[in-house]
């Protein structure tokens, strides 16, 4: 059971990191408030379940959609902001959202929301390993969507905007629309993650979705390699498991994430396996040598 609990938690953070990677990695919009959308998804799903009696299987996609809608609105605001001011605004959004949950009676106030039902199928309440399967299915769906996105026109435009917004604009790309799309898609991932979290914990509190959680998510994305799906997956896996594997670290988790963030920025800004990172470049060199002995001179630097 313990392993299932750890795996589910790691899986939820993997969803969150994949979503942030679409906003910050592909589209270049720094968001330091991703946990706010995690919270919006969790509260949406919890309220649907507790107050309206909506079953988990409907609450899950609804949480994704509603979070995406709110994400799109905040994305629209963000199109007027750049770099530093966007980063600061997203921090602000995180605190505002947490406060709204904490001080509004409707959202359960300081006590949070309890009694959220664990999902069941035909009267059978899922066991933890079965719930893990649901999480894994959501991740696989997320990975599949991400791969489709990257290969699509939309993905190409998102990446162009992320790499050079002005150049994209002067080629006719209405960058504001694509930033909004990126926020909507990325926060949809967070909304689904929130729903998975709420129904797994069966009790949620505004504190779970605070700024430190946002920092954990961005640490995972940066550690693995911002802008790549494999980086998001590896980063959330590594940083999610580390406190479990090195048990004494648990209390110093934020310290560890912070220190890693500083070290990565200094020595490996492309992350552990991002494009341009030491490991990824070495791997490519090795593959080139193994499979295409003559192609090494083809401009690989």
């Amino acid at each position: 059971m313990y392993y299932a609990t750890v795996a589910i938690t790691v899986g939820i953070f993997m969803m969150l990191t994949m979503g942030l990677n679409i906003i910050t990695g592909y589209t270049g919009q720094v968001s330091l408030g991703h946990a706010a959308f995690f919270g919006i998804g969790a509260y949406t799903s919890a309220l649907l379940s507790v107050k309206a009696g909506v079953p988990f299987w409907f609450a899950l996609p609804l949480a994704g959609l509603i979070t995406a809608a709110i994400g799109a609105i905040l994305g629209a605001i963000s199109t007027r902001l750049h770099d530093d001011s966007l980063a600061i605004t997203t921090i602000g959004i995180n605190f505002v959202v947490v406060s709204v949950f904490q001080y509004t009676q409707f959202f359960g106030g300081a006590l949070g929301i309890g009694g959220i039902r664990y999902p069941s199928v035909f009267g059978h309440t899922l066991t933890k390993p079965e719930y893990l399967l649901v999480v894994v299915l959501c991740i696989l769906l997320g990975i599949w969507f991400d791969r489709r996105l990257v290969r699509s026109w939309l993905g190409l435009a998102l990446r162009a905007v992320g790499q050079n917004e002005e150049a994209a604009q002067s080629l006719g790309v209405p960058s504001a629309r694509f930033k909004i799309a990126a926020f909507a898609i990325g926060t949809a991932y967070a909304g689904v993650a929130g729903s998975l979290y709420a129904h797994f914990m069966t009790f949620i509190n505004a504190r779970d979705f605070g700024f430190p959680t946002s920092i954990s998510i961005i640490s995972m994305a940066v550690f693995g390699g911002l802008g790549t799906l494999r980086g998001a997956i590896l980063g959330s896996l590594a940083l999610g498991l580390a406190p479990e594997v090195f048990r004494p670290l648990v209390n110093y988790r934020n310290l560890m994430y912070g220190a890693l963030l500083v070290l990565m920025m200094r020595f490996q800004p492309s992350g552990l396996i991002g494009d341009g990172s030491f490991i990824w470049e070495s791997r490519q060199r090795v593959t080139l040598r193994l499979y295409k002995p003559k192609a090494v001179s083809g401009g690989e630097k």
Partner: protein
Amino acid sequence: MLVVKDLEVRYGDINVIHGISFDIDEGESVAIIGANGAGKTTLLRTLMGLHLEFQGTILLDGEDIGRLPAWERSGRGLAMVPEGRRVFPDLTVEENLAIGAYSRTDRQEIEKSMKEVYTLFPILDQRKRQVSKTLSGGEQQMLAIGRAFMANPRLLLVDEVSTGLMPIFVDKVFDALSELNRRGVSILLVEQNARKSLSTMSRGYVLETGRISLEGSSEELRSNPEVQRAYLGI
């Protein structure tokens, strides 16, 4: 085609361009030469719609486009080759060209344009699956020009193509610009390299600290003693 009247451009409190007027006819190739800090890049950014803090009028085909955002100006036939060859570094050569054709829908015509770019710059064809940050400076400049060409522009705004390039690439890039001009694309080039631009473009303006100090055909400018002293080093 493009008429600029009494253009004044500010960056915050600083006046960068102090009321200039000039025009470009359909099919023309015009150079604006000037030293570093004369306001050349600011001028192009304003024309493209990337900088909106200005006074005066910018007319394209008689229509005021001064308030349109950059992406709408692109739809009306403007395209820009930005300074410092700003390609999309993590996209492949092919993807860079594809995004250039963003506002076009005619699939076959886009394919044709891509073939034309590859004929103009065969090296890009060889490198088409390569991520563009791995290209050399000259190759990136070619890609930046190719990418702008993919937008099927009627007027191409070109910012400092020669900076930081080896002389052989400078020649190649200017040859490509003349070729595009022969195919009917009007060109407005801002450059520090006066010698090369006045031998490639047909007409020119001299921009000095935000004002146009001289104008004329390229031959006139080349034989002007002031231009010779200040820009051609004769």
